[in-house]
């Protein structure tokens, strides 16, 4: 203890110098942007000019300005005041320094790799690195500030809503911009930049304030988030390449959310989840009126969706009924075996080894475009001067499906059923002793999850045009599981983040596509070892994995009480009276 105090005292003398050094570093960074970073034109988005920064360099410039403010503000704000005390300038500055260094290093590495050698890095690039080193060093000297208390700033409602709007718009543009980057190095640079920036802003306390704004306007936030997602196709200017990726992300997220009910909420490890998606897809394709389908009945899509969901959930019941009675471990392997049974069966229903339903490994091709209420999803149309193509149509449809699944998810989480599920997950024996119908609830979750997968699969069949058994293999199930585990079991946001990361990164970072599976295997191991609750943790879940953490336990308890009071205001009052 005394050691840290003395070292803090020693550091205290250099605070002003560190601030100044940080400002110098930021200015250096700004200067570097005006110089060429690379001799060759290919790396990043062509950073080889004097005085003419590329778009990526403008982004970097933005970071510099923020770092400048971080380091400069304490110099300017000499007097005590809420701006000086409630904002964590020093911590923000330190992370800003890290962000500068990381971004510059990625840039230099990217230039070195893409142009074939560090010789191609021009002084601008090296100055950026030097600025990063200086800023990091300055940041390390700074004494960390107290935790930011930006949530206590009083902001009028219109200001809060404006902040939400600006924040989400920034997210939308960042996403659209990142998707537009085709060069791996540029994408990685932008990713580092965005993560560094976000981390800096979190540390400085901006997000605390935003979180307060969001908490005060929850409905506005949810609505705005969907509005932003809805607006996304308009940023693409009719280009299909990114829309198809975005749509795939939505499919993946929707399926992962379904799996999340089973794995995250009830704690049943379902390793054959992709088979339920496949069952829905094959059902839907068979009823779609494709020339390759062998069922001569083409109900409207609304009916097909329901049939697909029912078929999948029946399969779920078939597998679940025997296995859910015995230990949970069996379920993992039996679902895995079921995934194999499904794939082999779909392969075999080809006329030579069984009745011809699926054309075997050729699958059902030429599934027609989706038609709903007379609207053909294959037709592009022009809206507000932007061509909305086939992919955007499916994107919007999936957005609606996703919203529905989220509504189901959130409401279940707060219902009697949801509490029963959590009880089963945390201690099945205790739950049973408390009168929870464990078998029934587990079966409900299992079949319900299968139903959602079937629904997603029925849309996917139309989107994919062809449905083959090869699309529904075990690795896809493992992939979905990785998304759920990475993002955070039992949370909606976490799974969305996990699914986006897992689907987007391999698309954009082609060079790592060969190592993708290996890294995901490693990811599962490391997540379980070091952060089993995922990136965005459900707090109850977090407590489960960190049972010894007293502080966390109190926090969660406090929140549960607050939550309870919120929904039972009378009870809270009576308690107060007492």
């Amino acid at each position: 203890m005394s050691d840290t105090t003395t070292s803090a005292n020693r550091l205290a003398r250099y605070q002003t110098s560190a601030h100044i050094a940080g400002v110098v570093a930021a200015v250096l960074g700004i200067v570097s942007v005006l110089l060429p970073w690379s001799y060759a034109h290919e790396p990043l988005d062509d950073v080889a000019y004097y005085g003419a920064p590329s778009p990526l360099q403008y982004n970097y410039l933005g970071l510099m300005v923020i770092v400048l403010v971080m380091f400069g503000a304490p110099l300017a704000l000499r007097r005590k005041g809420k701006f000086r005390d409630r904002i964590a300038w020093n911590t923000g500055a330190r992370f800003g320094g890290y962000a500068m260094l990381a971004t510059a290093l990625v840039a230099v590495a990217g230039i070195g790799i893409e142009a074939g050698g560090l010789v191609n890095v021009d002084p601008g690039g090296w100055i950026a690195v030097a600025a990063g080193v200086l800023a990091t060093a300055a940041g390390l000297v700074l004494l960390p500030s107290a935790a930011p208390r930006t949530g206590t700033f009083r902001t009028p409602a219109w200001g809060q809503i404006l902040a939400i709007a600006v924040g989400l718009a920034a997210v939308l543009f960042a996403a659209a911009y990142a998707l537009g980057l085709t060069d791996s190095g540029a994408f990685l640079f932008y990713l580092t930049f965005a993560l560094g920036l976000a981390l800096t802003l979190v540390r400085v306390g901006l997000f605390g304030w935003l979180a307060q704004c969001a908490a005060d306007n929850k409905k506005v936030l949810v609505f705005a988030a969907f509005l932003v997602a809805f607006l996304f196709p308009f940023t693409q200017n009719g280009s299909d390449a990114n829309m198809s990726i975005a749509t795939q992300v939505l499919f993946f997220s929707a399926t992962a959310l379904g799996l999340n009910i089973v794995v995250g909420m009830v704690g049943l490890l379902d390793l054959g989840y992709i088979a339920f998606l496949g069952a829905g897809a094959f059902t839907s394709a068979s009823l779609s009126g494709s020339l390759f389908a062998h069922i001569n009945w083409h109900p409207p899509f609304i009916v097909t969706v329901l049939i697909s969901g029912v078929v999948s959930s029946l399969l779920g019941l078939l597998i679940g009924t025997p296995t859910l009675r015995v230990s949970g471990d069996y379920l993992a392997i039996v679902t895995l075996a079921f995934g194999e049974i499904f794939r082999i069966t779909m392969n075999n229903l080809d006329g030579s080894d069984g009745p011809n339903i699926t054309n075997g490994s050729n699958g059902i091709n030429n599934v027609p475009e989706l038609g709903l209420f007379g609207f053909n999803f294959g037709d592009p149309h022009v809206m507000l001067g932007v061509t909305i193509g086939r992919f955007a149509n499916y994107f919007w449809l999936m957005l609606i499906v996703l919203a529905l699944i989220m509504v189901v998810f959130v409401n279940l989480n707060r219902s009697r059923i949801g509490r029963g599920w959590v009880a089963i997950r945390e201690d099945e024996l205790a739950a049973e002793a408390m009168g929870v119908n464990t078998f029934g609830l587990k079966l409900l979750a299992f079949a319900g999850g299968a139903f959602l997968a079937g629904v997603a699969g029925s849309v996917k069949a139309h989107y994919d045009v062809s449905v083959t058994p090869d699309q529904y293999v075990f690795l896809e199930s493992a992939f979905l599981l990785a998304a759920v585990v990475l993002g955070g079991m039992g949370t909606v946001m976490g799974v969305l983040v996990g699914a986006t990361v897992l689907k987007l990164l391999p698309e954009k970072l082609r060079f790592f596509s060969d190592y993708r599976l290996m890294l995901f295997g490693l990811l599962l191991v490391f997540m379980m070892r070091f952060r089993p609750e995922g990136i965005i943790a459900d707090e109850r879940r977090q407590l489960e994995f960190h049972a010894e953490d007293e502080e966390l336990a109190e926090e969660v308890e406090g929140e549960l009480i607050a939550y309870h009071d919120h929904y039972n205001p009378d009870a809270a009052k009576t308690e107060e009276l007492r």
Partner: protein, 319 residues
């Protein structure tokens, strides 16, 4: 009838392979109640270890059958065992042990991660070891003169020498296991730990070491299975552990998980059922393309009607 005897031989040799792997699942499950999903990959790594041993020995090709059976084969088995046991112990130490008190989902997910990771490491990096061929596609397994590709006739029934090897290996291993469990200190400690880990600890048993020896025994038998697989099918590849592991788990459940004799019986029964199904189920569903489906249907049927397995599980169902 000829076909019956032929399929019985096929089934028994296939079943012996399953049984050798199934022991690994059952021993580990009996002690820590963990389905070591990555055990199939330990089997695969063992086969690659045996192959690497052959390469290290200078890739001998032509030799007498005595030299092959008594020199090359034991060397490959030992080499495979060294690799598979080391990998198994590493996974136990680095991945499973820290999670011993975690919720049940954590080790299962870890196991899947390890499984995918090991497959990919072999696929991507086996070929980068000097002297080793690229493992992105199947690698021809070295020929053991006198066993690989040879067969003899009993009446109309063809018996492959590799089948004889597999069944003999299983018999020897079963005797060895019996001796190990009942007559050695470590073996008896394993039994004690599986019955009551806390009491076993109080009695001075080093539970960590017992768990490690369980992993090691399973991995050693998996390496033998890996060599047997290589000789039976002539090729090894990085994916071979997935289906084999799944089948072996089925065999373990069939015999009663946690019960070593059960794993042996379960393996043999599963192998025979699988072989017979391809011949004696009439019509389209008797095609060999359905054989895996029948094996897994058997697994589900066992769970419905006799969840404790044929010989009874040693572990009571713990949720």
């Amino acid at each position: 009838m000829d076909l019956f005897w032929q399929q019985l031989i096929n089934g028994l040799s296939l079943g012996a392979l399953y049984a050798l792997i199934a022991v690994g699942y059952t021993v580990v499950y009996g002690i820590v109640q963990l389905i070591n999903f990555a055990h199939g990959e330990i089997f695969m790594v063992g086969a690659f270890g045996a192959f690497a041993t052959w390469v290290v020995m200078g890739s001998p090709k032509q030799m007498s059958w005595q030299a092959a059976v008594f020199g090359l084969l034991p060397a490959m088995i030992v080499g495979g065992m060294i690799v598979s046991v080391s990998v198994a112990l590493l996974t136990e130490r680095l991945a499973y042990r820290p999670l011993r008190d975690a919720p049940r989902l954590a080790p299962l997910i870890t196991a899947i991660g390890i499984s995918v990771f090991l497959q990919e490491v072999v696929r991507l990096f086996f070929g980068t070891i000097p002297g080793m061929p690229d493992a992105k596609r199947a690698i021809p397994f070295p020929t053991v003169t006198g066993i690989s590709g040879r067969s003899f006739q009993i009446g109309t029934v063809t018996v492959q020498n590799s089948a004889v090897f597999t069944i003999a290996a299983l018999a020897v291993c079963t005797v060895f296991l019996w001796f190990f469990v009942n007559r050695t200190k470590t073996g008896r400690a394993m039994v004690a730990t599986s019955q009551d880990p806390d009491t076993a600890r109080l009695m001075g048993i080093n539970v960590d070491r017992v768990i490690m020896s369980a992993f090691a025994v399973g991995a050693a038998l998996a390496a033998i299975a890996g060599v047997a697989h290589g000789m039976r099918y002539g090729n090894i590849d990085f994916r071979m552990g997935f289906l084999a592991g799944l089948k072996a788990f089925t065999a373990a459940v069939l015999g009663g998980i946690g019960n070593i004799n059960g794993a042996v019986v379960g393996g043999l029964v599963l192998g025979v059922v699988e072989s017979m199904a391809t011949t004696f189920i009439p019509g389209q569903f008797g095609s060999p393309a359905w054989k895996d489906v029948w094996a897994f249907v058997l697994l589900i049927l066992v769970l419905v009607f006799r969840p404790q397995g044929l010989l009874g599980a040693k572990v009571v169902d713990r949720a």
